[in-house]
């Protein structure tokens, strides 16, 4: 480990084994119970504007096998170096190649830029980690699908006006399609491709 590369490189998980496990479990719960707010129990100093939940998820899941696309603010800031150093993940310039993307609701690219997998391998698709200003104060939506007992009301804030129309198009591709995890601070909400959303 050489300190010369960057003096302001922040440390990763205090405990790489247990912090990765707890971040993964919060993500598993988020994807298994879509629409419910989960919280990562880790304390992590992440480079701005990368949030704690998004950063923890990255440290827990990214490595040299996962090409990652970063929105320009992250790609040009200290986050890119932080992720390269702690995860060893390739940061790619083409959205279509990415297995994960770290993006912000305010500058969200169209969902159809990202990989949806193949008909025989629908798992080879992108997971978008979208930072939002709030997971509970946005416009009301009603979600149904696997992981939801009946239906659940969800209020994600800050998404583009046509986001749910794009989501409906993604939903049509099932079993192919992208999966989404919304993050805000230490909290996250999962939106797997199976979920039907009434906006």
């Amino acid at each position: 480990m050489t300190p010369s590369a960057s003096n302001d490189l922040l440390p990763g998980f205090a405990d790489p084994v247990f912090d990765a496990q707890s971040a993964f479990r919060a993500t598993l719960d988020a994807m298994s119970y879509p629409g419910r707010v989960q919280t990562v129990p880790t304390s992590l100093a992440t480079p701005e504007p990368l949030g704690i939940a998004a950063g923890s998820l990255a440290l827990a899941l990214f490595d040299f096998d996962t090409p990652v696309w970063l929105e320009p603010v992250l790609a040009e800031g200290p986050a890119a170096g932080y992720l390269r150093f702690h995860c060893g993940c390739p940061v790619v310039s083409g959205m279509g190649e990415a297995r994960f993307a770290l993006v912000n609701a305010a500058s969200l690219p169209r969902l159809d830029n990202f990989g949806i997998g193949e008909d025989r391998y629908p798992d080879r698709s992108a997971t978008l980690v979208i930072a939002v200003p709030s997971l509970t104060d946005g416009p009301g939506t009603r979600w149904t699908g696997p992981g939801i007992d009946g239906s659940i009301g969800v209020q994600i804030a800050g998404l583009p006006d046509d986001f749910w129309a794009q989501w409906a198009d993604n939903r049509e591709l099932y079993p192919q399609g992208i999966d989404v995890i919304f993050t805000c601070g230490k909290s996250l909400v999962g939106l797997p491709r199976t979920i039907n959303v009434e906006a």
Binding site: L28, D123, G147, D179, R193
Partner: protein, 306 residues
Amino acid sequence: MSAVSAVQWDEAYNFAYLDEQTKRMIRRTILKAIAIPGYQVPFGGREMPLAYGWGTGGVQVTASVIGPDDTLKVIDQGADDTTNAVSIRRFFERVAGVETTETTEDADIIQTRHRIPEFPLREGQVLVYQVPQPEPLRKLEPRETETRKMHGYAEYGLMSVRLYEDIARYGHIATTYSYPVMVNGRYLMSPSPIPKFDNPKMENNPAIQLFGAGREKRIYAIPPYTQVKSLDFDDHPFKVQTWKECCALCGAKSSYLDEVILDDRGGRMFVCSDTNFCEDRRAKGHTGPLGADPAALAFAHKEPAQ
């Protein structure tokens, strides 16, 4: 932090045995499996230095999910005290230092071979199945490229033909284990060799169900509250096994029963396959026709015949 530092495990190993890179890969695989219910997600990775019959797929999934504060239960054909269940429980006590239990309600993670517990599971619990053969179509089509294609285009006519041949030959669907299901209306899935008695428990279960196949390197999943339909026909609807007898020890009328031979003169009894369920009922005062018979109680703890 304090809970974490209190955990004691054999530090010759990484926590929960697997290295962190393997865990990351399996964790990513699990998340995609949850996103595509019933679809078999392939994963790469190295060989586990464990014999395959031992449940390596289940062990890899459990090792990637488990944390220091989790309590683990391991069952084999419903019993906590069989060789396979005891070995896996001891393995995780040693390499992860976790608490273990035989009580279904107290477990955060339940690793199972061949049964789903009788007690209803709750939200947040994770049921990990050991899967010897993940591909429900394998006996009908040996080529992986072909079965991938069938899943890709949801061409499942072959399976219906096979079940219908059962009906033509036996007058009913003769399959009693690994009875195929459709998950979320899209993927045909093998429930692992559980009795078809357990199939209805998979549907709309509040718990997370994960399936690990070690030799074939696949993981698949049923998220909570998901539609799981056992294949059947309008004129031959799916039916679970029933017994005329109740459990000889606890008197349960709605549990899955194993036949136990009591002596060499033809004496036999039926007892709950789920030992924790049966013991809990007896502790609460329920009793069956042989509930006070010492010979019957002694036999109850033997492993059921395969």
